[in-house]
Symmetry: C2
Subunit: 400 residues, 2 copies
């Protein structure tokens, strides 16, 4: 047999995925599994989006333009204006989810051997998309003791080499829920300017900021407008993960042109998804507020509950719908698996994501898990109880 | 500004795309443009697919599995059985169009510097997807005088190096409409076996074979079952280009596992598209027959008409809905542009694809165009008349 590619072999398997068979086994045994492991909101998709799909009135489901439907890009530009992101439809390319946007951003900007710097813990698939482009991800750990604040710029500077081409951030952050401050964003801006780097900024959680602190978009930073490549998606804000509609936004015409060539090769983004996403832009404020308030409550409930459990610590996330919590365990991979394969409390258990999957530096995240608060409060209450009981008897318990 | 990637710069711009502004200008002048340039069928999408979309009854448009919805893969396996392609749901991965299937096949199988051999003229985006993977496409010209039959295997063998990892075919062929014979497919099989290569086989036009000659799938070839990676799509057979639903099918478990890792990184294929594609598998035979008969008639009408024009020659395509014709012109890029920018007949003109975009070898295809018969017969009649009149006065006319 011909060999598969070294690139494919190098593609990481997520520690979350590895646990799925254990969750399936637990379910097969009749154990109810609470899923705190995925970023799939449980909240309903706006009715206006469902209606747009149900009212499709076309004879032929044709290709749409490679850069996305014009009317959608126009409405999307107006949506960004509400966040003081001053972009035009000509700066926007619609993609198959945020995933495709990141992939094409890397392919269009980075050559094999080029390097990007990413604060960790970070979304694991950034590494996967970098592998597609042959680029190298260098990470700088942020620390739970510091609430996962941006590491100091000196740490970034120690990693910069002639091959460094960009910095990738996620703000508000998955997995930590951290929201970068103005001064942190200014520091990033200065670094980007000093070394003439790309700033890849994943801002898909911008609707979910809870503390009154402002959301600072990479496009708010002055003097680096042409360096910024913003990644967006409708998945989280409208509970539309299945549509696979994202966007890549850049004012850099050369980058836009380069990305567009990759988009033209794949012909077009999903048609029905675009129609639903365009309709979603008219989602009533009441829906957005309800979703927001729901997450505010869950966040408070979850974080309070976690910090009340003996040996558990969670910083207070400022945005998104995740937190990374520290647990009194030897190895979060083992603990999360044990919860599924060896433990149940009143015939129930929880599925959490080992934080190791969000770190590149070996050994980090061993006593941390990511918890997504995509379940209703009653289920979060049960989940907290399950965690508390599990930690009482977990054989690998290690108190600091 | 940081530089864009060399890979992005190398991404080709299709000569078809370059002509789009000229078509837009012609339309702005009030000239009616007949589009013979794209593979977008004009025939209606099956009602059963539209209905499936209109009847969506879900509260949350969630992620689907990375490998695609189970029930769809099960039905798809049965569909393949009708073509004596013996695959199971576990051999199938649903992708965002055939484009994503090819991209991931290349990424999972080919490393930078690896080579694949492709008979030309060929679908231009194979080269684009190879560039994504850093792989090198080597082409062997097939000739219009031979009806674009498969070049002899000795020609393939002269291109084989230690880096050769695969052969890519499209059968029935885009752009030529050629359908590989059993003996040609056997020759490919022997070569694949002898050098232990991958056989990437794009078979999205399998429904469109017109001569009674059998469609031979790569999966019909004995002894190379694990070397075959089949690429499929619902775009052409159901006129569902906009859904972006394709598939990658392989019995090679290592390849499957490797491809799946790329698919997991991008999370999932489009949900609504999968629902519509699954429903499409119940399309009544009457629809398929009507579509088939329509193409049969158009094909005869178009090819007869082309060969009646002085100086024009088209072989008789056996499948798909394209033909590559030879014209008495100096340069098909110039001629196709001239048709849009300088010519009109009774305020009408035609948009054809210069064949240069389907060849990699410089200088080939200069007097050839690809014509897609995705217009109804009356429009094909007018298009033929326009072509005839244009060739009478085109300043760059060159008779052989």
């Amino acid at each position: 047999m011909p060999e598969v590619s070294k690139r494919g072999v190098r593609m990481p398997e997520s520690p979350i995925r590895k646990l799925v068979p254990y969750a399936d086994q637990a379910k097969a045994k009749g154990i109810k599994v609470y899923h705190l492991n995925i970023g799939q909101p449980d909240l309903p998709t706006p009715q206006i989006a469902i209606d747009a799909i149900r009212n499709i009135d076309r004879k032929i489901l044709e290709y749409s333009p490679s850069e996305g439907i014009r009317s959608y890009r126009e409405k999307l530009a107006k949506y960004y204006h509400k966040f003081k992101i001053d972009v035009s439809p000509e700066n926007i390319i619609i993609t198959a989810g945020g995933s495709e946007a990141i992939t094409y951003a890397f392919l269009a900007c980075l050559d094999p051997g080029d390097e990007i710097i990413v604060p960790e813990p970070s979304y694991a698939n950034y590494t996967a998309f970098a592998i597609v482009a042959g680029a190298i991800v260098k990470t700088i750990p942020s620390k739970i003791e510091e609430g996962f604040a941006l590491p100091p710029m000196e740490k970034f500077e120690t990693l910069i080499t002639p091959r460094t081409k960009g910095i990738m951030i996620c703000n508000p952050n998955n997995p930590t829920g951290y929201l970068y401050t103005q001064s942190e964003m200014n520091a990033i801006r200065d670094l980007v300017k000093k070394y003439d780097l790309y700033l890849f900024s994943d801002e898909v959680y911008r609707e979910f900021c809870y503390t009154g602190a402002p959301y600072i978009s990479a496009f708010h930073l002055e003097g680096i407008e042409e360096n910024v490549i913003l990644v967006d998606s409708v998945s989280k804000r409208y509970s539309e993960c299945g549509l696979r509609i994202g966007a890549l936004i850049t004012k850099n015409k050369t980058v836009y042109h380069n990305v567009l060539k990759f988009c033209q090769a794949r012909l077009s983004p999903p048609l029905i998804g675009q129609i639903a996403a365009e309709a979603s832009l008219d989602t009533p404020d009441a829906y957005m507020l309800e979703v927001y308030n729901e997450y505010v409550e869950r966040r408070k409930f979850l974080i309070d509950g976690l910090n009340r459990i003996n040996g558990v610590y969670s910083p207070i996330p400022m945005g998104a719908f995740y937190t990374v919590a520290r647990l009194p365990v030897d190895d979060s991979d083992k603990f999360c698996q044990w919860l599924l394969s060896d433990f149940s409390y009143e015939n129930q258990t929880i599925f959490m994501s080992p934080a190791t999957g969000f770190y590149t530096t070996p050994g980090l995240g061993l006593n941390e898990v990511r918890i997504a608060y995509v379940l209703k409060k009653e289920d979060l209450a049960i989940s907290l109880k399950i965690l508390e009981e599990a930690l009482k008897i977990y054989p690998g318990r290690v108190d600091a």
